[in-house]
């Protein structure tokens, strides 16, 4: 079963969806139907997938010396990730038929979601770096359209622009990294790139055993230049930091909450922000060899995960709280890549991606429903909004349990695996393991605290019965399904889709302890008060502004670039073009002078001629004589 089918079907649905966008029912049927069939196909593909990784040949593009095979790869890990992506996409599509039922641009929205899904599936299955770039950039574009879906609102327009520009600036690094890695291999094929940049360990060890120096051994084995490799990987990581909203690019994601809630669920849960983990996992064999790149990533994610968690705790808007929690949780995924020991592989991070996709989509869809019932996403407005439907109470309980990382539910399981892997990495010393470990433990506690806060505000606090009107059964079913998966999704480990080492019960105890501390701190003000008011009242206004990063972006990037642009535009018309205008003036002046000369009286013209001849002859004489 070829992954091209899984990738192609949503793309086809997007094209078809644009064609029928004026008819909401038809557009909805196309979108939901395609997502359902794709889910079925992805499930079958997962069942059939085996190791080693199989290659599905692409159309092969030959661009001079560079070979671009455009292959897709499939193995159980990729198939599992693809399945969860399509699952979330299906949930989002079903949910938006209700959520956006009265929206006059529902058709475009559904088609864009289909395209977004296809792009993410492309990144998951990509066996070619250029194909990864294709999926990567298409996702960025779709995020622009989805975040700016309600384009009649200035804030949505601004958020869409910001989301695209921030990620695109980071993509300068991504594209250069891909180009550089491909240049080392002469092809963009992932396997060939990995082979070309891999450190030939066996050969080097043999040469060292024979008594040659390290330098001589590396030269003899034609090892790739480690500094160049580190530079390229750092460039690649910069792109990942941008798309995954990690420091210093973190600020676009919270603003992206201006998009409709289903779009946020899709962007946050299974696509876009998580794509960076997939990409780094696919180049992991080379990435693992480069301590520089590991440190760079490890430093960024350590700062991000703690910062994101703290900002999440102090948000006055619960949807933005979920956004900052995504920033923090994606950092946890990336931590599983940055600090894992080379032999462990990136699968702990990928498992966390799987878990996060399930519980974060659940939380977003549930918050969207609650916000419709309560009439806003502010924590004050949302108090007790879970009373709108029984499923919401369960959904928030399951979602926040998972987010907090309570053992046995899927989010807890994956976090334990990340912790255990990072511990192994910290013990192995070479890399940022220790730093990441400390950040991870602190983050886990803060995460438990803000999860408690979210649950308290939404569920425990009571109010008069809120109602979101009639909600279709399908939406309720989708939420129940996600509730089930957010609890039991961890069973995926028995399929062997993620290669995880068994972990000891000690980790279970440790996470319980850390989560307990977080919950206890959050509950200090009692059950009736918002923990953010109790613990972080002063921080709330600052956190709502994202620590003022927006102003920083404007001051450091936007304004200088615009200033430079004005200078360039001025130079263009007043300096570069001045020569052109000058030549016209000079020609006219020469013409006028010539005319005057010819009109002038004979004696003066004759004198001029004689003078000219003297100058020419004199000059010639000097040249010839010397």
């Amino acid at each position: 079963m070829t992954p091209w089918l899984v990738v192609g079907l949503p793309a086809l649905a997007a094209v078809l969806g644009v064609a029928v966008r004026r008819d909401d029912r038809l557009a909805g049927a196309v979108a939901v139907g395609a997502a359902a069939v794709t889910l079925l196909l992805a499930g079958i593909a997962w069942g059939l997938a085996g190791r080693p990784t199989t290659v599905s040949p692409g159309p092969r593009l030959r661009a001079g010396e560079l070979l671009v095979p455009l292959d897709l790869l499939s193995d159980p890990t990729r198939a599992a990730l693809a399945t969860v992506v399509v699952l979330v996409a299906l949930a989002v599509q079903v949910y938006s038929t209700w959520y956006l039922a009265t929206d006059d641009r529902y058709g475009q929205f559904a088609a864009t979601v289909s395209l977004f899904t296809s792009a993410m599936l492309l990144v998951v299955h990509s066996g070619d770096l250029l194909l990864t770039v294709v999926g990567w950039e298409v996702m960025g574009w779709c995020s622009y359209l989805l975040v700016g879906h309600w384009s009649r609102r200035p804030s949505a327009r601004r958020a869409a622009l910001k989301a695209f520009l921030v990620t695109r600036v980071a993509d300068i690094g991504f594209v250069l990294g891909v180009v550089g890695l491909a240049a080392g291999a002469g092809t963009t094929s992932l396997a060939a790139v990995l082979a070309a940049w891999d450190r030939p360990d066996a050969c080097v060890d043999a040469a060292l055993a024979d008594g040659s120096t390290v330098g001589a051994a590396l030269t003899a084995c034609e090892a790739p230049d480690a500094r160049v490799r580190a530079l390229l990987l750092v460039l690649l990581v910069i792109g990942v930091l941008g798309k995954s909203a990690q420091v210093p690019f973190q600020d676009w994601l919270a603003d992206a909450m201006e998009g409709p809630t289903p779009a946020s669920a899709l962007i946050h849960a299974a696509t876009m922000v998580a794509a960076g983990t997939v990409v780094l996992a696919s180049v992991y064999p080379v990435f693992a060899d480069s301590p520089t790149a590991r440190w760079f990533l490890g430093l960024a994610v350590s700062v991000t995960m703690l910062l994101g968690a703290l900002l999440a705790f102090a948000q006055s808007d619960l949807k933005r709280m979920l956004a900052w929690s995504t920033v923090s949780q994606v950092a946890v995924m990336l931590a599983g890549v940055a600090a894992a020991p080379a032999e462990a592989g990136p699968d702990a991070g990928l498992f966390h991606l799987w878990a996060h996709a399930l519980f974060k989509s659940l939380l977003f869809l549930a918050v969207g429903w609650a916000a419709l019932a309560a009439g806003g996403t502010l924590a004050v407005a949302l108090r007790g909004a879970a009373g709108a439907a029984p499923v919401l109470r369960v959904a928030f309980a399951a979602g926040f349990l998972s987010l907090a990382g309570v053992p046995l539910v899927v989010g807890g399981q994956s976090k334990e695996h990340v912790l255990a892997t990072v511990w192994d990495g910290a013990v192995a010393v070479d890399g940022p393991g220790l730093l990441v470990l400390v950040a991870l433990v602190l983050t886990s506690a803060v995460t438990a605290a803000y999860s408690t806060r979210g649950y308290l505000v939404l569920t425990v606090h009571t109010r008069q019965r809120p109602s979101a009107g009639r909600v279709p059964v399908a939406v309720t079913v989708v939420l129940w399904l996600l509730v089930g998966l957010s609890v039991l999704g961890g069973l995926v480990v028995v399929t062997g889709a993620f290669r995880l080492a068994p972990i000891s019960l000690l980790w279970l105890l440790l996470t319980t302890l850390v989560v307990g501390v977080g919950v206890a701190v959050a509950l200090r003000g009692g059950l009736d008060r918002d923990p953010a008011d109790v613990l972080a009242r002063r921080l709330v206004p600052v956190a709502d502004r994202g620590l003022g990063a927006d102003a920083l972006y404007r001051r450091l990037v936007a304004r200088p670039v615009l200033r430079l642009a004005r200078v360039v535009a001025f130079v263009d018309t007043e300096v570069v073009d001045a020569y052109v205008r000058g030549s016209a003036v000079a020609t006219r002046a020469t013409g006028w002078a010539g005319e005057r000369l010819h009109r002038g009286e004979r004696p003066s013209a004759g004198v001029g001629l004689v003078l000219g001849a003297v100058v020419v002859l004199g000059g010639l004489g000097v040249v010839l004589w010397s």
Partner: protein
């Protein structure tokens, strides 16, 4: 025979329209133009499929032969020209600018097309030059007489600047071609390919003259200042021809003459040329960030896109040449789309000043808005649309240039060009933010009429081409591959 017919048909019809048929009314004139353009497209396809060629003595005293034919390098451009020629002819149903007889206008379009076709099919350097020059006069008429009716003085100035500037470039190129032909003893481009045994000194001299001359046409920063006024002033059909066909003659000439004929000389100039290309990418992008006139903005974005092409050419590898040829075709389609669209907006609004608030296209005219966003997305290099492959491969080519190029200079250029790609996103979304999206329109304010009729079909055809080229870049690359290997391998 087919080749001669391909060139003679639009030339004859065009010349008749500007002379004998000058008094013809709009309806018969545009019908004649459209039929001619459609037949020309058919003939172009036939020439490509049959591999037709013609080769006979023309001016034996000068050793110049009447030699036309196509190969992989010229095929995509020949088809692009014929296709754009047809769309431009059909555009007469949308708008025939005032300023003179409609027949003359349409005749000039056909003559430009004939000249461009001859340029791409010429296999003789002198013939190439003649065809290259043929285009100038009708284009001058198009800009100077049929251009923007609001400002006659700016129109005259833009037309004169266009003619004089590009004529200076052509003269420089003429000197280069004469030097080349005189030293090599032949004007046959096939025989000239690979250096024709010229010494390095002569090669360098020829290369300087050719590169400077052709750079005006491309245009390469800092020789680009004729382009924005010409584009802003020209009627829609003229802008489309200018961007989609005339600029391509410059890059095509660069591939045929300096790159293929004097590779060693070009190699010496390549680093500087690459720098000019990379600077062009950033320069054009930055100006677009603050430019107020949408048509000028699209013109400056052309400068940026051609910067990628120039950079790819300078890299000297097969990948670079492929990227340049692909980028050429892609820019032809994308800029044609944007100019048809922006020309249509100017027709509706009277001007395209971005500082004037107008109802958002997404609200009032969704079809127009959709195409605009597609064009902008292609312009910012979104994968799946035409712009992407040429630009990403250009960056690759600069990162991994041919062995005889200075690696460091080109890698720096690659980085600069990648930064320029982010600028493209910024200015494209700036335009989208001003023109495409906006508040719910005031019901009292006049709505922008949506596209319909012929304009809709033209936009649909161009949009389809943008998508097809983006999804299946092999269509162009497989055609150019062998010829590119020939050009680079001959060194």
């Amino acid at each position: 025979m087919v080749v001669s017919l391909l060139l003679a048909l639009p030339a004859a019809a065009g010349l008749w329209l500007v002379s004998g048929g000058r008094a013809l009314g709009v309806r018969p004139a545009r019908l004649l133009t459209a039929v001619t353009a459609a037949l020309t497209l058919g003939l172009a396809v036939a020439v490509v499929v049959l591999g037709a060629e013609v080769d006979r003595p023309w001016l034996p005293e000068l050793g110049v032969r009447w030699s036309f034919g196509v190969d992989g390098v010229s095929t995509p451009l020949l088809l692009l020209t014929a296709g754009i020629g047809l769309l431009v002819a059909l555009h007469a149903w949308v708008e025939v600018p005032a300023g003179g007889s409609p027949a003359t206008f349409l005749g000039c379009l056909l003559v430009v097309e004939a000249g461009a076709l001859a340029t791409f099919a010429a296999r003789d350097a002198v013939l190439f030059l003649v065809a290259f020059e043929v285009v100038l006069v009708p284009m001058w008429v198009l800009v100077g007489r049929y251009g923007d009716p609001h400002d006659p003085r700016a129109r005259t100035e833009a037309a004169q600047r266009f003619v004089l500037y590009t004529a200076v470039g052509s003269t420089t190129m003429l000197l280069g071609i004469l030097l080349l032909v005189a030293s090599a003893g032949t004007a046959d481009l096939r025989a000239l390919a690979g250096g024709a045994g010229l010494g390095t000194g002569v090669q360098l001299g020829v290369a300087v003259l050719l590169v400077v001359g052709l750079a005006v046409k491309v245009p390469v920063v800092p020789l680009h200042t004729w382009l924005p006024p010409a584009h802003t002033t020209a009627p829609t059909a003229g802008s489309v021809l200018l961007a989609a066909v005339l600029l391509k003659m410059g890059t095509y000439g660069l591939v045929r003459l300096p790159v293929a004929s004097v590779p060693e000389g070009f190699g010496v100039l390549a680093p500087g040329f690459a720098v000019a290309g990379a600077v062009g990418v950033v320069w054009g992008g930055l100006v677009c960030l603050v430019e107020r006139d949408l048509k000028r903005l699209v013109a400056y974005s052309s400068v940026a896109h051609m910067g990628f092409v120039v950079l790819a050419l300078a890299a000297g590898s097969q990948t670079g040449l492929q990227a340049a040829l692909y980028g050429n075709v892609a820019h032809g389609v994308v800029s044609a789309l944007l100019f048809v669209l922006v020309g249509g907006l100017k027709h509706r609004w009277g001007d395209v000043d971005l500082a004037v608030p107008r109802p958002a296209l997404r609200e009032t005219s969704p079809r127009l808005g959709f195409v605009l966003v597609l064009g902008l997305a292609a312009s910012l290099g979104l994968p799946g649309l035409a712009g992407f492959w040429g630009e990403v491969l250009a960056v690759y080519a600069a990162w991994a240039p041919a062995d005889d190029r200075p690696r460091v200079v080109l890698v720096v250029c690659a980085v600069v060009a990648a930064v320029g790609a982010a600028l493209a996103a910024a200015y494209s979304l700036r335009v989208a933010g001003i023109v495409w999206v906006g508040d719910r329109p005031d019901p009292d304010v006049a709505r922008t009429p949506d596209t319909s009729g012929m304009e809709r079909w033209i936009l649909a055809a161009l949009a389809l081409a943008v998508v097809v080229l983006g999804v299946a870049p092999m269509l162009v690359m497989s055609v150019t591959a062998d010829a590119v290997a020939g050009v680079v391998g001959a060194r």
